[in-house]
Symmetry: C2
Subunit: 428 residues, 2 copies
C-alpha cells in the first residue's frame, strides 16, 4: 500500500510539542506568580459562548470579521471566544450579589480569531487575562499597570526593552470636543487614532478626511497626539502616575495620547505595552477600564479594569532578547531503568517503582533489548543516569548506576540507590 | 431603564469560578505529578482539528452524533476536538523521523461532545491524556495501568473504591471466532458487549438477536463474558498482570472480559477504571492499545497505548468520598494593606510593593475608605492579616498588624514587617 498523506492541522493552529509546551507553561507560571503576588485568584470561563455576548460591545471588527461563529446541532449561534472580558462580565453579573468586591481575578487560556496567520499571530492562541472589578479608583488602574511591569521584571524585560503607554478615553473625548468633533464621531475618530501606527502618514490624513475632519481639525488632532503634557488635564491619570511611582515601576510607564486600543467597551484609562527594542515595535498587550460592560451584559453597573496578553508576541520578544530560560525544557525522566533480559524485567519494574516512591522521576525501558540501544535511547532523551540490573546485581541486591555524561559507573546496594541518585541529581 | 436579562452561557459549558477552578487545578497538578514520576513530558494539540482527522477511526457515534462540527470562513469543516488521540497520532506521524521512541507524553485540556448534559457530563469538559508510543510490549500496557493506579493512590482512592478492569480485543476476537462469529461482525459484537451494562438483560439479548446471533451464540457469549480465567489465553494479558504486580499496584487491577471500550481504533489490550463504591458504578476513565492509528492518519505503523480521564466523573467520585482536600481553595491574598486616607494612599501602595518584593501575596485596598469596611472586606475574602498605616505609623516608620481571626493587633517597625508576617503565616 502506498504511504498515505499525513492529515494536516487546521491553518493557524499550533502543535505544542514538549519543547514549545515548556515555553507556554513557563509563561503561565510567571503569570501565575505575578497574579498571586498581587492577590488575584485564578478562574476560567467556557471556551465557547453565544454570539450575543460579544455582539453587545466587543466591536464590529472582532465580532463580524474575526470570530469563528457556528450553529450547533440545536441551531444556536456559538462563538469560539475571541476574548475573555465579556465572559468575565457575564460571570460577575451572574453572581453580583454573592461576590465580594473589589474582585481580583486572573486566567490563562485559549482564544480564537479568524485572521491571516503571520509571525506573531495565529488563529488559535493563548492569553493571560487579569482584572480588578468593583473599584473606579485610578489606583486600580495603576495596580494593573504595575502588574504588567512586575511581569516584565519577572521575565527580565528592562524599561529599555518594554514600555507601558497609558492614555484616557475621557480625556481624549474632551479634547476632541474642543476641536469641534461631535460625540457620535468619537468611535470613528478613536479608530482613526488607533490606526495611526498602522498607516503611512499621508494615508492616515486621507482616512481622517474621509471621516469628515477638516484640514484644521486634522492638524489639531495631530498636535493633540504629540502633546505629552495632556495627561495633566485628566484626574484619572493624575491619580495613576503617582500610584505607579509608589508601586516602584514608574520607569516602565509613560503617557501616550495616541494609545486608544481597539475594543469598543473601554471607557476611561487605556494602556498598551510595547516592545521597544529589536527589529520591530510590537504591541505586547493591551488593557483598560470598562465601567459599563457589566451592565451591558445584563448586570448592575460595576466599574472594572483589566488587560490581556497573548502568548505569541511576548514569546517572540523574549526569544529575540534571549530571555527564555534554557532550564525550563526539562527532559522527560532523569533516570532510566534498563531491562537486561526477559527474566529480569519484573525486577526492573519493581526497582522503578521503588525509586518513584522515593520521589524520583523514573522511566523504565518497556522490554528487554540490547543494552547499547537502551543507553542510546537514554542519551537521546536527556536521561542523566541509567540503572543496570543484571542477574549478578539482582542476586547481590545491588544496582549499577551509569552517569551518561561521563560514562562513569558504580555498583551500590539497591537499598542505597534512591538516596545516592538524589545526591547525584542535586535533589537533596 | 428596566434591568436587562443577564446573557446566558452556552448549554453544557461550565463557569469556573475560583472555587471550582481550584479543584480542576488540583486534578491537573496530581496528573502532572504522576505523569512526570513515570517520565512523561507535557504536550498539547490544537483545540480544533479538521473533521477528516476523526472520520478515519474514532467511530461513527463520536464523529456523526457527538461532535461540534462547523464550516469556517474559508469553507473548511472544523471540529471542536472530541478526543485527543487522533491529534497525538497526527503530531507523532508528522515528526516520526525526528522523535525518539518510545515516547512518553501527557496532556490536560478541553474537549467537546454534543451530548445531553447531566450529572457527570457536560458538553465542554477537560481530560487528562497520557500515552506511550513506540512499544508493543505488554509492559507498556502495564505501565499505563500502573499510572492509573498511582493516580488513584495520589488522590486517596483505595482498591475498595476504584478498580481497573482489563481486557484484550484480540483475545475476544479469537473467542468470538470460536463461537462462529465472522470477522466483519466483530465491530457490531464489540458494540453489543460495550452496551451490556447499559441495557436490561432481556433488551440486551434482543439487541444480540437483532445482530443475527443465534440463541446458542448468545448463551456462549454470555458465558464468555463471565469467564474470569479467559485472560490466560492472551499472551498480552499474560505479560500485563505480572508487570502490574511488579509495579506494586496489582490490588487495583483485574481481568474483565466484558470491557471493550467504544472507540473503533483500539486494537489489543483495553481497560476501564470504575468507581465501585458509592451510589453508582461509574466509568472514571478508559484506555487501550491503538497500534494502527498512526498509520491511519498517514504515518508509519507505530504501536501505542494510552488512556484519557475526564475531569467530571472523577471529581464527582472524589466529592462523594470526601477526598478533595480543603486547603486547595486558598484565599486570593493572605495580607491586605488598608488605606487610612487620601494622604496615606501612596505609602500604603509602597508598603504593598515592599512586601511583595519580600515574596508575600499582598492586596492593597484600591482607595481610601472607612476602616471598618476595609476590614470587613478582608474578612470576607479570607485575608489573614490586615495592615494599618495611619499618619502616626508613617511618621514613626511603623506599621500595625491586625490578625483577623483573633482581632489582636501589634505595632512594629516597618522594616521588620515582612519577616514578622512570614512567621505569622508559617511561610518561613
Amino acid at each position: 500500500m502506498a504511504k498515505s498523506k499525513i492529515i494536516q492541522p487546521v491553518k493557524g493552529t499550533r502543535d505544542y510539542y514538549p519543547e514549545l509546551m515548556a515555553v507556554r507553561k513557563w509563561l503561565y507560571e510567571v503569570a501565575a506568580l505575578v497574579s498571586s503576588a498581587f492577590g488575584y485568584q485564578e478562574y476560567e470561563g467556557p471556551l465557547i459562548e453565544s454570539l450575543e455576548l460579544y455582539a453587545a460591545k466587543s466591536g464590529d471588527e472582532l465580532v463580524k470579521e474575526q470570530s469563528f461563529v457556528f450553529e450547533d446541532r440545536g441551531g444556536n449561534l456559538i462563538t469560539l471566544r475571541p476574548e475573555l472580558t465579556p465572559t468575565l462580565a457575564r460571570m460577575v453579573a451572574q453572581q453580583q450579589n454573592q461576590l465580594t468586591f473589589p474582585l481580583r481575578w486572573w486566567s490563562f487560556g485559549p482564544f480564537w480569531r479568524y485572521e491571516r496567520p503571520q509571525k506573531g499571530r495565529t488563529r488559535e492562541f493563548f492569553q493571560w487575562n487579569i482584572d480588578l472589578i468593583g473599584s473606579d479608583s485610578p489606583t486600580a488602574d495603576a495596580e494593573l499597570v504595575a502588574i504588567v511591569a512586575s511581569f516584565f521584571q519577572a521575565v527580565g524585560l528592562s524599561p529599555d526593552e518594554a514600555q507601558i503607554l497609558v492614555n484616557n478615553r475621557y480625556l481624549m473625548e474632551g479634547e476632541l470636543a474642543e476641536i469641534g468633533i461631535q460625540d457620535e464621531s468619537f468611535k470613528d475618530i478613536f479608530r482613526l487614532i488607533d490606526r495611526r501606527d498602522k498607516l503611512a502618514p499621508l494615508k492616515w490624513r486621507d482616512y481622517a478626511k474621509d471621516l469628515g475632519l477638516t484640514l484644521q481639525q486634522i492638524d489639531q488632532l495631530e498636535e493633540l497626539l504629540r502633546n505629552d503634557d495632556l495627561w495633566q488635564k485628566s484626574p484619572a491619570l493624575q491619580g495613576l502616575f503617582p500610584a505607579v511611582e509608589s508601586l516602584g515601576v514608574g520607569g516602565y510607564v509613560r503617557f501616550a495620547p495616541y494609545i486608544i486600543r481597539g475594543l469598543d467597551y473601554y471607557t476611561g484609562t487605556v494602556f498598551e505595552a510595547q516592545a521597544i527594542k529589536g527589529d520591530v515595535r510590537r504591541a505586547i498587550l493591551g488593557g483598560g477600564r470598562y465601567d459599563n460592560l457589566l451592565s451591558d451584559v445584563g448586570g448592575n453597573q460595576i466599574p472594572a479594569v483589566g488587560f490581556a496578553m497573548g502568548d505569541l508576541v511576548i514569546t517572540l520578544v523574549l526569544e529575540e532578547l534571549d530571555l527564555i530560560p534554557t532550564d525550563i525544557k526539562t527532559p522527560a525522566a532523569s533516570i532510566l531503568v534498563t531491562v537486561f533480559n526477559e527474566d529480569s524485567l519484573q525486577e526492573s519494574l519493581t526497582l522503578s517503582k521503588e525509586l518513584r516512591e522515593a520521589g524520583l522521576k523514573v522511566a523504565c525501558y518497556p522490554q528487554a533489548d540490547k543494552l547499547g540501544k537502551q543507553l542510546k535511547y537514554a542519551d537521546k532523551t536527556g536521561v542523566k543516569i541509567a540503572l543496570l540490573l543484571g542477574p549478578d546485581e539482582i542476586a547481590a541486591q545491588k544496582v549499577t548506576l551509569k552517569e551518561l555524561s561521563s560514562g562513569n559507573q558504580e555498583t551500590i546496594p539497591r537499598a542505597e540507590s534512591a538516596n545516592k541518585l538524589k545526591r547525584m541529581l542535586d535533589l537533596d
